[in-house]
Structure formats: structure tokens, C-alpha cells
């Protein structure tokens, strides 16, 4: 599928970058003329994906996180968040609501929220090599819904 536009961002897995990543994603998505609710959904999903890299992929270290956003045909926003960290041994388990390895500071709802706010969520992971989370969300621009 051809991308009409894209950005790639790379940043260290520091928690102070969570706000930066979701704000950057919202700013890129703005060209699709999304509603406030759609912007909120994009920010939330990005925040969850990036937080997973910071908390789970690189629990003891600071590693590289890459976020790629693309606008695909039909005003579909694709968000891919990639890390080269610890990886997920059991993806099905990780995606279950309330499952977490993160202790009481984590709710185990990250993937559940990404799933419910996005149209599609794909998780690819190799233990010891890293994880890529790819999400799709079609944007009904305000212009079209008027």
C-alpha cells in the first residue's frame, strides 16, 4: 500500500518521551482533519505502545524506540512502534486484559486499550530481539462528516 505521507522518529526509552511521542503523533495526524475524539484515541494508543517499550522492552536499560507513522489510502493512519528490547515470549497472554508482568504500577490494560481505540492491532515479537506493534485507524475527517 502506498503511503501518502510519513514520518519516522527515533528516541531513547525515557519516560519523559511518552508525552513527546503522543503529541508528535497527534500533530502528524492533524493533516487528516480528525475529530477531538480521534486525536485522543491516537494519543492514547501511542502512549500505551511507547510506555510498553520503556517499561517492558528495556526494564533495566535505556534503548532505542522507533515510531513510524504513515497515511495510507482511504485516510488510514498506520502507527508502528518498534523496539530492540527483551521481546514478548507469549503474545496471546500479554494481550489478555489485566495480565501484566509490571507489578502494581501497571494495570495490564495497555493492549486492551490499544485494541479498543484502534481498528487493528498487530504484535510481532522475538524474545531477546525486540517487538513491533502496528496499529491502523481510519480517520473520518470532520469535513466529510459534516
Amino acid at each position: 500500500m502506498n503511503a501518502k505521507n510519513y514520518i519516522k522518529l527515533e528516541f531513547p526509552s525515557k519516560s519523559s518521551n511518552e508525552a513527546f511521542a503522543r503529541t508528535a503523533a497527534a500533530a502528524f495526524a492533524a493533516q487528516l482533519d480528525p475529530t477531538l475524539e480521534e486525536i485522543g484515541d491516537i494519543k492514547t494508543a501511542v502512549s500505551e505502545a511507547v510506555t510498553n517499550c520503556i517499561v517492558h522492552a528495556y526494564p533495566e536499560t535505556v534503548g532505542k524506540v522507533r515510531m513510524r507513522l504513515r497515511i495510507l489510502d482511504g485516510d488510514v493512519l498506520e502507527i508502528a512502534v518498534q523496539d530492540w528490547g527483551r521481546g514478548i515470549a507469549d503474545i496471546r497472554k500479554a494481550r489478555e486484559p489485566l495480565f501484566t508482568t509490571g507489578g502494581e504500577e501497571r494495570s495490564g490494560m495497555g493492549f486492551t486499550i490499544m485494541e479498543s481505540f484502534m481498528d487493528k492491532l498487530r504484535v510481532r515479537s522475538t524474545p531477546g530481539k525486540g517487538t513491533t506493534v502496528t496499529m491502523l485507524r481510519s480517520i473520518l475527517s470532520r469535513e466529510k462528516t459534516r
Binding site: 519516560s15 519523559s16 511518552e18 508525552a19 503522543r22 477531538l36 475524539e37 485522543g40 484515541d41 494519543k43 492514547t44 502512549s47 500505551e48 510506555t51 520503556i54 517499561v55 486484559p97 502494581e104 504500577e105 501497571r106 494495570s107 490494560m109 495497555g110 486492551t112 486499550i113 479498543s116 481505540f117
Partner: protein, 106 residues
């Protein structure tokens, strides 16, 4: 994010403002624990009307605080969540455990 408070006859209201994510959650938890220790309230109200953004880190925080309040024999609920936090609360299903009021009763 910021937490400001109001206290009246056993009820402590914590007004959240700004954005609540994993980066902010630890400090927010510490503030709330300090407030609970200082006021020993019967009711704790989390007023989310000024919170512009919250992700699942906020859900974990709300569950932890409500556990603390229960241990102290108190009650806790959420008031006036703005739209985005409301969607996260709904998606997480915590409204089945913790009441969410849309209009301030006080």
C-alpha cells in the same frame, strides 16, 4: 500533572490537572499517599475535570489508591472525568469497581 485539594467534613477531593502517564504516575501516587496519611479522610474523591490526558498508567494508579482507601475503611469515587480519560476508564472496565459520577454532588 498537578494535584490540588479541598477538604471538608471527612471528604478529601483531589483535583487532577495536566496529563497522567507512566512518567507522572509514580509522583502522583506518592502525593496521594501523603494526602491520605495527612487527612485520613472518610471519602476520597478524584476529580478528573482538569485532567486533559490519561492512559492505562492512570488506571493502575486509580486501582492502587482505591485499595489504599478501602484498607483505611473509606470510600472512593471518580468525579467529572473529561472526555479522553472517560474513554480510557470505560475501555478498562474499572467503573464496575469504582463509581464514576458525572456531576459534582457537593
Amino acid at each position: 500533572m498537578n494535584i490540588s485539594t479541598a477538604y471538608s467534613s471527612g471528604r478529601l477531593t483531589a483535583f487532577f490537572s495536566g496529563e497522567l502517564d507512566q512518567h507522572e504516575a509514580r509522583g502522583a501516587m506518592r502525593s496521594l499517599e501523603d494526602l491520605l496519611d495527612a487527612y485520613l479522610p472518610r471519602d476520597l474523591v478524584l476529580d478528573l475535570s482538569g485532567l486533559n490526558f490519561m492512559d492505562s498508567s492512570g488506571i493502575a494508579l486509580i486501582i492502587r489508591v482505591s485499595r489504599r482507601v478501602k484498607e483505611m475503611g473509606g470510600r472512593m469515587w471518580i468525579e467529572n472525568p473529561a472526555k479522553q480519560p472517560r474513554r480510557v476508564i470505560d475501555a478498562s472496565g474499572i467503573d464496575r469497581l469504582i463509581p464514576v459520577a458525572t456531576n459534582s454532588i457537593s
